[in-house]
Point group: C2
Chain length 257, copies 2
């Protein structure tokens, strides 16, 4: 919205609290309880990529954001799908080193979550390999020589890792194209504004100024990336065995799923 | 392509073999080695959703497939994003009960993968809860009263579970809207054609006619859904510890990521 000059009112949903876990929030805005969410008069849309497509279409954003022709659009769509199954899930490296630790009452980098941290980091490094060797192989931006929404999505992913100091310097050095691209995107006029909350709050978490006892939320913010004790963290039944959850669903159906 | 009458030549890529793991395949078609892939003259596009958008746009598919107006399109986009992080990852239930077992030399339903099976099933049941209670709450199809591409994507996901008998009858009974919707989509003219390979081959796997020793592939087909021994299966370094992989990336960079 900043990039294409669409005026909006911002409301920060503090995801360290339980606000997005409450049923009233889910009924009113988003059944999954995830953010971001756009409310445009009577119409509500969630999922960042869907929001961006909606805003760009409604407010006639320039062609570079989602592509000027069929093939360019296909490239950007292809990137956004690839991203969902790779780079986005690599966010588990950040989540299980910083955010998830605090949710579950531990300090950042808790060894309790080594398996999840390893999985997240593996997905992250793999995704970085494809980004360096394929998407950025011979061009300035991930889908061509102009910036597109695909860059903004991917950039935002690296902001978490940067804020949480997840990627060591010696790894950045092995991925020079990503490093140059990230720097270029960091220098865009609105980059700081949209990533300020992350840098500020993640900084507090790392320095121990924001501790587990200050976290009211009890579930993960990054579904699909994590297993812990054989049970997914994205669900509200944290202390229930998977097998018991399955039995409840078998007996009571959609109401408890 | 069947639905909007676009002529094409089909080439089945047998994913029980190692064909998609070979570098020449990756260089020529898709760096991730995943299918489906569309080759349209000089232009190649992969990722099913990106392919569908491309074909629908290029061949002027009817408005129902990706939406007739801004809000309808936003709904379909929202569904396709939701789907990527939930229902699609619930495919781990199928993968780790059937396909993954054979890849890693075990019989279907191997108890070796209980944690992965549980995670997949948890994600699947959760996603089914949202599908039943939200997407299909008061309408015929997932994004409205007309069929859209969102239905085709979600339908195809359930085909794997149906072919692999992953969802027990008593669970189907608890999700009556999904069951009715699945039946309706199964009865579309082309449903059988596009799911034939799955039904035939998964049937052979369950009956023990297609065994682990017949599988040439060594890596998962469903990235991001699984952890095993703290190491992701989607990568080619199957017998390497995560920590050793990280050290290699730190030392050698993108070339080994």
């Amino acid at each position: 919205m900043y990039e294409i000059d669409v005026p909006f009112e911002e409301e920060v949903v503090d995801i360290t609290t339980d606000i997005t876990e409450r049923q009233e929030f889910r009924d009113k805005y988003n059944p999954t309880g995830q953010v971001p969410i756009l409310v445009d008069g009577e119409f509500t849309v969630w999922e960042s990529v869907a929001i961006a497509r909606y805003v760009n279409e409604k407010f006639d954003g320039a062609g570079n954001w989602f592509g000027r022709g069929t093939q360019e659009r296909a490239q950007i769509n292809q990137f956004l799908q690839w991203y969902a199954y790779t780079l986005r899930l690599g966010g588990g490296a950040f989540h299980w080193n910083i955010f998830g630790c605090l949710i579950y009452g531990e300090k950042p980098y808790s060894p309790k979550f080594t398996a999840e941290q390893n999985k997240g980091r593996t997905l992250l490094y793999e995704a970085m390999g494809t980004l360096e060797n394929y998407w950025l192989r011979d061009r300035e931006y991930v889908c061509g020589d102009e910036v597109s929404y695909a860059d903004l999505a991917a950039f935002h992913e690296f902001v978490s890792h940067e804020a949480g100091k997840i990627i060591p310097d010696r790894v950045w050095q092995g991925f020079p194209k990503i490093a140059a691209w990230f720097k270029k995107l960091s220098e865009r006029p609105h980059a700081k504004t949209v990533s300020e909350w992350q840098y500020t709050n993640v900084g507090k978490m790392i320095r121990g100024e924001l501790t587990a006892s200050m976290f009211k939320r009890k579930t993960a913010v990054l579904k699909g990336t994590e297993v812990f004790s054989g049970h997914n963290h994205g669900i509200p039944y944290l202390n229930e065995k998977a097998e018991d959850y399955f039995k409840r669903v078998e007996k009571e159906g959609a109401a408890v799923a």
